[in-house]
């Protein structure tokens, strides 16, 4: 006869009770709010992952920014200013590289969420764990791996001169060429070996409305050919961004060390780009859903980042009115979508709408 304890253990082995859906809703809300993800950046410092590196960078840049402000506030204190001079120089090229002046950075501070949202989807996904004013600075477009690694150099390199070099080489092809590029080289080397053994193909998004831009990358530093599944290919690269113009299901394949890696991309029918809410019955409402989505949550905001419309449902529509009942003026508006496709895939997407009156 089995031990008493063992019998209990066995009885609970396959015990998988149904969970109330509200739990996921709460979890999902908690992890997508900037406050909790900022905490992640702080707590993730023990890790070798991207967010940890990004967290370091965020911390470093925040300090640099703080120094910059301090520099302005107390110009009289020349000793401190001198001491801080190198840091100030560091922050300057970083800001330039992302086309943000100091003044703009301040603006971001006052409206961090909006600024974060304006960035393209991939940036948002990969950097939500940063302090948002910093987020746009850190990662640009597709070269995510390269960027995070070269930024890590920024963190670890001791002299300011080196910092500038690294920032300048941010868009260079191979970050692994730059010397001493992480706070813990041994660990990274280990990771690289691991990655080489176990390559993984990562996509920035698996689902979205056409035209859908997706960044693919390998977790290893190896380069390979990518087949995007829509008749297009890319050769000898570690990460690549591809735009899917038409709706459909695509299988992306690549081969690393004789191992075939695949991932699926679901592209949904295109949303409009413009509407004319003038009451003529033609194109008066802008719809954010369609046949391919089960549920959409959408937020529309103006060029100043102010939210002017939110909607949810299978096909929410905006009639061009503001919440106070007045008409939104002609111009460009931005939206964030959080949706579930009919296939059950969750995705985030952003875009612009032109409103004509």
């Amino acid at each position: 006869m089995k031990q008493f304890e063992e019998q209990f253990k066995d009885a609970f082995d396959g015990f998988e009770p149904e969970v109330d859906p509200s739990v996921w809703t709460n979890v999902s809300n908690a992890i997508s709010s900037p406050a909790s993800t900022a905490a992640t950046a702080a707590s993730g410092s023990a890790a070798g992952g991207f967010s940890a590196v990004a967290g370091w960078v965020a911390a470093a840049i925040t300090i640099a920014a703080g120094v910059l402000i301090y520099h302005f506030v107390s110009p009289a204190d020349s000793t401190v200013s001198k001491e801080n001079q190198p840091s100030t120089t560091i922050s300057a090229p970083v800001n330039e590289s992302s086309n943000t002046s100091t003044e703009e950075t301040t603006t971001q501070n006052s409206n961090p969420v909006a600024q974060e949202k304006i960035e393209n989807q991939f940036v948002t996904e990969s950097t939500t764990d940063l302090n948002s004013p910093v987020a746009p600075v850190v990662v640009e477009e597709s070269q995510k791996v390269v960027n995070s690694e070269s930024h890590a150099t920024t963190v670890s390199a001791p002299e300011p001169a080196k910092h500038e070099n690294t920032v300048a080489s941010k868009n260079s092809e191979k970050a692994e060429n730059s010397p001493n590029f992480t706070p813990n080289p041994a660990k990274t080397a280990e990771n690289q070996v691991e990655n080489a053994i176990n390559p993984v193909l990562i996509a920035s998004s698996h689902c979205g409305f056409a035209p859908l831009q997706v960044t693919f990358m390998l977790n290893s530093n190896l380069k390979t050919d990518f087949n995007f599944g829509d008749g297009n290919v890319a050769f000898k690269t570690n990460s690549i961004t591809h735009k899917y113009e038409n709706s459909g299901r695509y299988t992306v394949t690549c081969e690393v060390n004789g191992k075939q890696l695949t991932t699926e991309i679901e592209v949904l029918g295109q949303l409009g780009t413009a509407f004319s809410p003038n009451g003529d019955g033609i194109n008066d409402i802008f719809n954010f859903g369609g046949n391919d989505v089960e549920k959409v949550d959408v937020r529309v905001y103006n060029r100043y980042g102010k939210t002017i419309f939110t909607g949810s449902g299978s096909n929410p529509g905006w009639d061009g009115y503001l919440s106070d009942g007045s008409k939104a003026e002609s111009g460009t508006y931005f939206y964030d979508i959080f949706a579930t496709s009919v296939g059950g895939t969750d995705f985030k997407q952003k875009g612009t709408i032109n409103l004509f009156r």
């Binding site: 008493f4 304890e5 253990k9 009885a11 015990f15 996921w24 992640t40 993984v200 990562i202």
Partner: protein, 181 residues
């Protein structure tokens, strides 16, 4: 999708990967929470807190052990944190009587019924029983986890076990009577 892909996706905060990871483990982990909590609502809270931690700390997970084991450790630790907060009164009984090896057979009892029986135990007993019998910790480890001594853990366990055996025997004899009639 492999665990590696799930983890990598979650590190990038890809919502569909996060959802998949949740769906893969949530029910099993809910089973764990139910064993520690005093009510379904409490268990839901524990599960929710646990998964938020999972997603917040996934960047520190390096595929060195199993993903499920890692998630489970977070769930158990979250449950214990919750229990520690309740400031339980631990009754230390010197040389608690080891119950005579029982003739209990659980074969015809399912997890739900066992859960009902476990849930009748006071929170402290329950935690020690869960940790020892199901999670497989030893008494020294349990002492560290709950901030009690090894001997307290032992005595709590034997009392918990005695109480469980008693409940099960009661149920069994009741069932036998019904079958006889």
């Amino acid at each position: 999708m492999t665990d590696e892909q799930l983890v990598e996706g979650c590190k990038l905060q890809n919502p569909s990967h996060q959802r998949k990871l949740y769906e893969k483990f949530s029910r099993k982990m809910f089973g764990v929470c139910l064993r520690y909590a005093n009510s379904r609502e409490e268990a839901e809270d524990l599960l929710q807190d646990s998964f938020v931690k999972v997603f917040q700390h996934v960047s520190s997970f390096k595929m060195e052990g199993s993903l499920e084991g890692w998630v489970r450790r977070i769930v158990v630790n979250t449950s214990l944190e919750f229990i520690r907060k309740q400031k339980l009164q631990w009754v230390n009984i010197e040389d608690a009587d080891e119950p005579a090896e029982s003739e209990v057979v659980l074969d015809h009892m399912n997890a739900k019924e066992l859960l009902m029986i476990i849930n009748k135990l006071p929170t402290g007993f329950k935690a020690v029983f869960n940790l020892y019998a199901i999670e497989g910790y030893n008494h020294r480890e349990i002492g560290d986890l709950l901030g009690i001594t090894e001997s307290t853990s032992k005595s709590q366990y034997s009392r918990a076990k005695a109480a469980l055996v008693k409940s099960i025997q009661e149920i069994e004899s009741a069932t036998k009577d019904i079958v006889k009639e």
